[in-house]
Amino acid sequence: MAPQDPNAPSGSGSGKRNEDSVKVPATDPKKKDDKKDEDLSEEDLELKNQLELYVERVQDTDPGVQKNALESMRQEIRTSTSSMTSVPKPLKYLRPHYGTLKAYYETMAESELKNYLADILSVLALTMSAEGERESLKYRLLGSDGDIGSWGHEYVRNLAGEIAQEFAKRQSEEAPIEELMELVQQIVAFHMKHNAEPEAVDLLMEVEDLDLLIEHVDKTNFKRTCLYLTSSARYLPGPDDVLVLDIAYTIYMKFEEYPNALQIALFLDNMQNIKNVFTSCDDLLCKKQFCYILARHGISFELDDEMVAEDDDREALQDIINNTKLSEGYLTLARDIEVMEAKTPEDIYKAHLLDGRASAGASVDSARQNLAATFVNAFVNAGFGQDKLMTVPSDASSGGSSGNWLFKNKEHGKTSAAASLGMILLWDVDSGLAQIDKYFHSKDTHVIAGALLGVGIVNCSIKNDCDPALALLGEYIDKEDPFIRIGAIMGLGIAYAGAQNEQIRSKLTPILNDAKAPLDVVTFTAISLGLVYVGSCNEEVAQAIIFALMDRSDSELGEPLARLIPLSLGLLYLGKQESVEATAEVSKTFNEKIRKHCDMTLLSCAYAGTGNVLKVQNLLGHCSHHLEKNETHQGPAVLGIAMISMAEELGVEMAIRSLEHLLQYGEQNIRRAVPLALGLLCISNPKVNVMDTLSRLSHDTDSEVAMAAVISLGLLGAGTNNARIAGMLRNLSSYYYKDASLLFCVRIAQGLVHLGKGLLTLNPYHSDRFLLSPTALAGIITLLHACLDMKAIILGKYHYILYFIVLAMQPRMLLTVDENLKPLSVPVRVGQAVDVVGQAGRPKTITGFQTHSTPVLLAAGDRAELATEKYIPLSPILEGFVILKENPDYREDN
């Protein structure tokens, strides 16, 4: 092709080009033909001559000859456009004549033939048209309205690209776009018919008319279309993403794929759509599955008679939403995997694997280490209802030499010890309340505070008609003793996270505005309100917290604990993007000690889980300043980077890289936050590269960096039993055996790694990493913000903040149930999930799978699919509770 290029029209000065191109066929090619002919095979030569003949004939005066020539030329082009890897031969040989034909076209009178020629020119422009000229489109619009698909895929694609450009241009010029839209209709129809859904969607997005899609989807292609829509939504700027997801929702509803529609409704947090799903679907079993999805997402949702007509059915469905059977399901899993046996902290520490370095067996109890053991015991035995420290039969406490474990904890440590009972009996409200009851009658205020907190923890993500948590804890909110108040308030926050309960608001807001209330009580009140109203943008709560921030004195706002108050404000706007702006404006008037901190916190919370790159850049900008004063806002900014970019895998990878840079150039307060941010990005997902970074940081000379890294190692491996992290932590425990604070962190991390003996996850993302549970994220970031000043909060007397992690705890299981919701064991294949977005055909969705029978554990990035045709799952995503329906078409093959 190269030798001919100089003669090719190059889009400069049309008049001159015409002259040139007229000469071209007459002179130059003939010379070159002699040379080139040698390379061509006989067939090709013939084709070439043939085409040249056609070109000459097109310029004939006789319309009949013209028509014949055009027809033949068209025939040649059409039959050869099948291959996409090289330029088709007819196009190649016609290239030199493009200019000629174009010039001739201009001279032609309006006729059918002229349209014909336009069609051909449009196709020729596919390879000839200069960048930005959009001649293909131009001639297409001038040509006949024939079937564009007949010219082949490549042509249509090219056309679609030119339309997008033309559309943008016309929009800026406010020129009419009707004719374009007609073409778009054709192209979309063509793409949708030919397995090119992504192209169709792309074109429609470019021309901002996605509604067209709905007409063109059908049973065969809507799944791929919607998959592309939902995954592309992640990379779209607002408000386009909402638009795209709305279309996906509409399509799913159209084809009655209700579970998928529900997921999109949940993603958009659109209550009306969720209700529509319930009212549109009339299969009760399906509705039960919806309830399981809602329960996993952790939002409170009340069914009404419009959604479910029968009272009994409604009650049964509401029970599922209220998570009343979560404990049962979890224990089924535990029994199946045979991990019911309670574990002691020593089973986790595995000190016997360490060589001589472990400290000499201390005869005296260390309060710090006992507290760590309390947490480890609570985390490891979470939800199992039995352990070896707290739930041992009471006769051991009266006569036994070891005494009650509770009293092996010192002062405020007893609060955490009593509350750990709530963690052990997690989700099992009935036995939980019975076991905690005895601590209510203690004389020790710390113990009572712990009992109150324990009640809250037991009720976490469980709702009960009788509202036991509210009834019990409500009594203690206004007690004198600050410990008891904090216990009750924090308990309410955990039990009713996301519930948006009016009663709680009316009980708690007065505390915020009570100038006499101690700072810690106010802080916990604010956080609890933030959790209860997470992502609600509730004005009144926001007002109350803002007033509380304004009322507090200068010195109080300097306290590390006070920095959690802005966080509570941020929680109200979690993931709500622009809605935060009014409050962010108000925050600019705050005391300067907290102003910037508040600003960063609000920004990061509002855009959490959105993947908004601009906001990440903004936060990175804040981290690049070198601060002279003792400002604290860079910590939340670093966490914010993780919170925003955790939305999708690509963002996570980029954020990890950016954080590496911060580690190298950042100030100490940034370096302290980086491990925590890494922990958040890969929570319960032990990525090896992050593990190595954290392992390196865990030996940092700055002890706070090391502490954060150690805790983050715990978060990274939370609930995975990851042997490598466990080994690292074990070695750290001997490395830091002399440093009580760091050893405490190591112990906590060890507890986290073995969270629920490896049956739990802290990942706030679920349903194939599509949905983000707001309460779970809120729990994690509250903990992480507290970890920004480890020494003052976690290592001080507020260690029970660690229990906020319970909000994110969920079994990482697949439990299949039959139509009566009884566990049903079926074979499933579990393997690494494969990204199938935009792939043609029916690609495999998992790789490297193994076949197990349910219930099974799902690791991060795992996906499951049924290995039997006997049942049909009611949810497309096999996670958590999935109802199986018998397949009526199934036949046992022998």
Binding site: D430, S442, C466, P468
Partner: protein, 517 residues
């Protein structure tokens, strides 16, 4: 107020009444309570309590909720004051009015409460490590504190740490008093002894590293060579010199105190009796002499690969002296054997020698292995061997017993003794009370266990770094690198035998294994 009080009183009576009836069925109680009332409005509710569901519990809405609680007491055994009944949005109060609570027929109530014993704090408060005073925390740690380096004083620090591990020396020092100085001990020795005593006790008490300021000053005063300066900083010194000088001083001052039963406690602890046969090859003259030394030398030559070989070398020497029979000086061969064993056997690896060409003390890097358990039986004199034989046999039997073997045929005569003294081994540890070996502490066996290693790292005696590796009473090894104590494993201790640039043993201290006869 009064009225309410009276009413509650009345219901307590009622309640007691029910209590008496508690053996009857719940239905009959409910029935009875309904009979007591003339006009009654009844509601049937179900109550959820723990995992049970109590169905069809009647509520008499004209009675205060306390009555209802009494009914539940009957059903569940939970006393009313410990019942918490959840009604919409709150707890059921004893004196609430049913009509305002809006309880409906068939409603499900929830009750929390148990008859479990209320948890009581243990009578004896638990003591936490964090509450303890510093010295008890040190005790808890299981090993002593480190020593700060005061500028090239690692030779002194490691020496002190090694000697500090000898409990008998510690207790002997404690008995030494300020006033106890007798005239034959000079002032500076007395001061050094006092300083040592104070430093040892400080090491025991402290958790954090100690700065041995006083000790160092006194040491320099007593032995000015340690105050040698170069470029106005104190120079690195030979740890062996420090070790022997310190022991010498202590032996001088501790001998003179009248409190100790033995005249020379340091000598009893560390002194090695040697009997030497001096033999002249030319004249055939032979004489024998005895001496007492504080350490055995392990000479390192090309043939020496093991401590034992080095010791043998060290006990054989050639000297030139005037031979009375020949009337001129002749070569005499001196062969020494051990005639008296100390409780603590100190062995010095002669790694440094004066290199004339470079004018400095050079170091032999040769690898010389040393065992964790040393048997010096073949270095002993015949007399000593005889006394050692019986205890050694016993020890073998004891060990055989431990391994589950029967005592060998030879020792059948000692069988009857075995029964009498079955727990002879038990007395080996914790003998820190008395300062000198008394017969009741057991007899020497000639077998020694490694308890401390002083290592040197570097190429010459005046440079490099000294570190002490000390075995604790708990059996754990601690590496004292100036102010940092690090726990170590036993296998790593035997890796200090040299042959590279790693720490290598310079002085080893072994503790005698004794057996009660």
């Amino acid at each position: 107020m009064k009225a309410r009080k009276r009413r509650t009183l009345k219901h307590i009576c009622l309640c007691l009444l029910y209590k008496l009836d508690s053996d009857k069925t719940p239905a009959s109680v409910a029935h009875r309570s309904s009979k007591l009332q003339t006009i009654s409005a009844m509601l049937n509710v179900s109550v959820k309590w723990q995992k049970e569901l109590l169905k069809a519990v009647e509520i008499d809405t004209t009675q205060p909720p306390y009555v209802f609680k009494c009914q539940l007491y009957d059903l569940t055994g939970v006393p009313p004051e410990r019942q918490k009944i959840m009604v919409k949005g709150g707890l059921l109060k004893d004196d609430a009015d049913w009509s305002t609570l809006g309880v409906k027929e068939g409603q499900k109530l929830m009750m929390m409460g148990t008859a479990d014993e209320v948890v009581k704090a243990p009578e004896k408060a638990i003591v936490f490590a964090e509450d303890l005073p510093e010295e008890e925390q040190a005790l808890n740690l299981g090993y002593g504190a480190g020593l700060f380096n005061l500028g090239n004083t690692c030779y002194m620090n490691s020496t002190v740490q090694c000697l500090h591990s000898v409990p008998e020396l510690k207790s002997a020092l404690i008995k030494y008093s300020h006033s106890g100085r007798s005239n034959d001990v000079d002032q500076t020795s007395h001061m050094l002894t006092i300083a040592t005593r104070d430093l040892f006790s400080e090491l025991d008490k402290s958790v954090k590293a100690v700065a041995p300021m006083q000790f160092w000053m006194v040491l320099r005063k007593k032995y000015p060579q340690f105050g040698q300066q170069h470029n106005s900083t104190f120079m690195q010194q030979d740890a062996e010199e420090c070790w022997s000088q310190l022991l010498y001083t202590l032996s001088q001052s501790l001998r003179s105190t009248g409190s100790s039963e033995s005249p020379d406690s340091v000598k009893a602890l560390f002194g090695i009796e040697l009997v030497s046969r001096v033999h002249c090859v030319e004249s055939g003259e032979e004489s024998s002499e005895t001496e007492s030394v504080y350490s055995l030398k392990c000479h390192i030559s090309h043939e020496v690969n093991h401590l034992h070989e080095g010791l043998k070398h060290g006990l054989k020497s050639e000297l030139e002296k005037n031979s009375p029979s020949l009337g001129r000086s002749a070569i005499y061969v001196k062969e020494s054997l051990i005639n008296g064993l100390p409780r603590y056997l100190t062995i010095q690896f002669v790694r440094f020698f004066w290199k004339r060409e470079s004018n400095q003390k050079a170091k032999i890097l040769r690898k010389v292995d040393y065992p964790l358990q040393l048997d010096i039986f073949d270095l002993c004199s015949d007399d000593l061997r005889k006394t050692l034989e019986a205890p050694r046999q016993r020890l073998r039997d004891e060990e055989g017993k431990k391994l589950g073997l029967k005592p060998s045929e030879k020792s059948s005569d000692s069988k009857d003794k075995d029964i009498k003294m079955s727990d002879a081994e038990g007395s080996l540890n914790g003998s820190g009370e008395s300062s000198n070996p008394t017969p009741d502490e057991g007899a020497m066996t000639g077998i020694y266990d490694l308890v401390a290693v002083l290592t040197h790292k570097g190429r010459s005696a005046d440079s490099g770094h000294y570190v002490a590796w000390v075995k604790q009473e708990s059996g754990k090894w601690i590496q004292y690198d100036d102010d940092n104590p690090y726990p170590q494993v036993e296998e790593d201790i035997t890796k200090l035998s040299g042959g590279g640039d790693w720490h290598m043993a310079y002085i080893c201290m072994y503790k005698a294994r004794t057996i009660r006869m």
